[in-house]
């Protein structure tokens, strides 16, 4: 992978963390106020839909964009988070917040385990393993009656949760906080020593190893973080929809969107997955009203192929070129 392809190619601007965090929080508050003024529950529904993809795409980007290792198992990691939350609720009665934590831990460990077994080899072996991971996890969940098996699991949500106007708004705010946190972590990582190490791995792993970059440790950290953040995106899913079955949790749309969004937005930059997720997420949310969901996904698949072929730097690349 060449440095000019994904990396900035120039010295990155000094990170202005305070400006970013203030801007992100301001934008978040503005979104909540705007949706409350619209006052339609569908707004929260659509907002949550887009924001979960912001988390998922940013998580993929940490491993795929920064380090150049492709994770095909987004649906598997996301479902691991969702089912960890369901299992925790069944076992202990703890609800959303501990569930999110459990989802992140379980999915993170899953990432660590898969990475530990395959990352010492060429990157493609890791990719192939993640591709199979989702299939196997789905088999396990279908056969696991405790979390509902193939029938699915129900979660009854409370009608009111003050100070929020509705459960929908509450879920939206939770996902908004997770999304801002994930993007912030990804951004901080990109400009840190770890980010520089991951970029070195992406550009030339052997050279990185030779100059003393601890490649295996960095790759394992990135895989664990990537898995944990994907679990984070998945854990609120059963609470959001009130019902979850394996088909919905392991939906193909998570697998393809987690890859298409960062690559279309511009992999290797923190803003790329955000742009991709907002753009593709909004388009798909708007399109489900008019066309079938299969056609919808088909279009995403074609967009992925066209973008990686013609615009390997994604939408972010257009801005860079113009400068």
């Amino acid at each position: 992978m060449s440095a000019t392809l994904l990396g900035t190619g120039t010295i990155p601007a000094p990170p202005r963390h305070a400006v970013f965090w203030l801007g992100a929080i301001g934008l978040g508050v503005a979104l909540v106020v705007a949706l409350r003024m619209i006052g339609n529950d569908y707004g929260y529904f659509a907002g949550y839909f887009v924001l979960q993809y912001v988390v998922l795409a940013s998580a993929w980007n940490i491993l795929g964009g920064y380090a150049g290792y492709v994770n095909f198992g987004a649906a598997g990691f996301m479902a691991a988070g969702a089912y960890a939350a369901i299992a925790l609720r069944k076992a202990t009665g703890l609800d959303l917040m501990p569930g999110i934590l459990a989802g992140a831990v379980v999915a993170g460990l899953l990432g660590l385990g898969t990475g530990y077994l395959t990352l010492r080899l060429r990157g493609v072996f890791f990719s192939i393993a993640t591709l199979c991971l989702a299939v196997v996890l789905q088999t396990l969940v279908v056969n696991w009656d405790y979390v509902g098996g193939s029938r699915g699991a129900y979660i009854v949500n409370p009608m009111e949760i003050p100070p929020f106007v509705s459960w929908g708004e509450y879920m939206f705010v939770v996902m908004l906080v997770l999304a801002i946190g994930t993007v912030g972590v990804a951004r901080a990582l990109e400009h840190s020593r770890i980010g520089a190490g991951l970029a070195a791995i992406r550009d030339n792993e052997r050279a990185a190893e030779a100059v003393g970059v601890p490649t295996l440790r960095l790759k394992l950290s990135a895989t664990t973080l990537c898995g944990a953040l994907m679990g984070l995106a998945g854990a609120p899913l059963p609470y959001y929809s009130g019902y979850l079955n394996p088909d919905a949790a392991f939906s193909l749309s998570y697998a393809v969107n987690a890859i298409a969004m960062p690559l279309i937005g511009g992999a290797g930059t923190w803003a790329g997955p955000v742009i991709g997720a907002v753009l593709l997420g909004t388009l798909q949310q708007a399109a489900t009203v008019t066309i079938s969901s299969a056609l919808n996904l088909w279009i995403v698949g074609w967009m992925l192929v066209v973008f990686v072929a013609l615009f390997p730097r994604g939408i972010m690349g257009w801005f860079r070129r113009r400068r």
């Binding site: 199979c132 196997v136 192929v305």
Partner: protein
């Protein structure tokens, strides 16, 4: 005979027959992934596409599925050449196989699978030839023709492929292209042309495997997903570029999976595939028969 032993023997025999199907499914991948170093994760999806075309053509014309599978192979050869053309032009030539190339094949896999859902719906499709309901018996051992005929065809095709790769100039060039493309160029052979041809053959093999798949079991658009783990595990276990190694690995894999299914229930077979893949990657990435690099 002891019923447990009889069950085990039958499990092993039908596992070998299942291994024949897996050899067919993995043969094309051993060419593309093993020899050409092209990580074609869309291979099982294209096999399922071949299975669907077999069902459509076979039903329309009333032909045997395996015959249709052989007849449609040239069509898939052309599709394979097209896919390789795009892959080479946009990714291989630019040295962007690792991330963009993988994403490209993932996109192809996805487009094929969702395209099949849109064209045929998510239901299972089947096409049973007359012999599918006949079972030969050798003592205690059952030999269902539904499994035997595809396995024999698959192993014949793989055998012919091995002979061709060893005896013909083009075949030797295919084996050489991944090792040293420059040396081929010095012998006035265009490595890109050789790779294009070999990739076309790998997709034609996928289409034939699709025909074998239809005879063995009903197919649905998502059938390819479970084959990804299997075929990659088999090709890696077999030592990547070695077709005899691939066949041995496929037969072994079929036996292990089938015996597991016999004694623990068929719902665990995807876990067997994945477990093997992980174990192979963790402990013997050079294949069962290879030496550590």
């Amino acid at each position: 005979m002891d019923p447990q032993l009889s069950l085990l023997l039958n499990g092993i025999v039908s596992g070998l027959l299942l291994g024949g199907l897996y050899a067919a499914a993995a043969a094309g991948l051993a060419v593309s992934f093993g020899m050409l170093d092209i990580v074609n994760i869309a291979h099982p999806a294209l096999m399922v596409m071949g299975a669907f075309t077999v069902v459509v053509i076979g039903t329309a014309l009333g032909l045997d599925p395996l015959l249709v599978a052989l007849l449609q192979a040239p069509l898939f050869y052309v599709i394979g050449i097209g896919i390789y053309g795009i892959y080479h032009h946009f990714f291989e030539r630019r040295g962007e196989e690792a991330l963009q190339g993988l994403a490209f094949f993932f996109g192809v896999m996805f487009i094929v699978e969702v395209g099949l859902v849109m064209a045929f719906g998510p239901e299972q499709r089947f096409l049973d030839p007359d012999y599918a309901f006949i079972t030969w018996r050798l003592g205690e051992i059952d030999l269902p023709l539904r499994m035997l005929v595809p396995a024999v065809l698959a192993l014949t095709v793989v055998g012919l492929l091995i002979l061709w790769l060893r005896r013909s100039f083009t075949g030797l060039a295919i084996a050489a292209v991944a090792q040293d493309a420059e040396a081929l160029r010095l012998m006035a052979v265009d490595p890109v042309r050789i790779k294009r041809l070999a990739f076309g053959i790998s997709i034609a093999l996928a289409a034939m495997a699709g025909g074998a798949l239809v005879v063995v079991q009903p197919v649905e658009p998502a059938s390819g997903q479970i084959f990804i783990g299997r075929v990659f595990a088999i090709v890696i276990m077999g030592g990547m570029a070695s077709l005899p190694g691939m066949v041995t690995a496929a037969l072994l894999f079929g036996v292990v999976e089938n015996v597991t299914a016999t004694f623990y229930g068929p719902s665990w077979s995807p876990a067997v595939a994945f477990g093997w893949l992980l174990l192979v990657l963790a402990f013997r990435p050079q294949g069962l028969f290879g030496r550590a690099a």
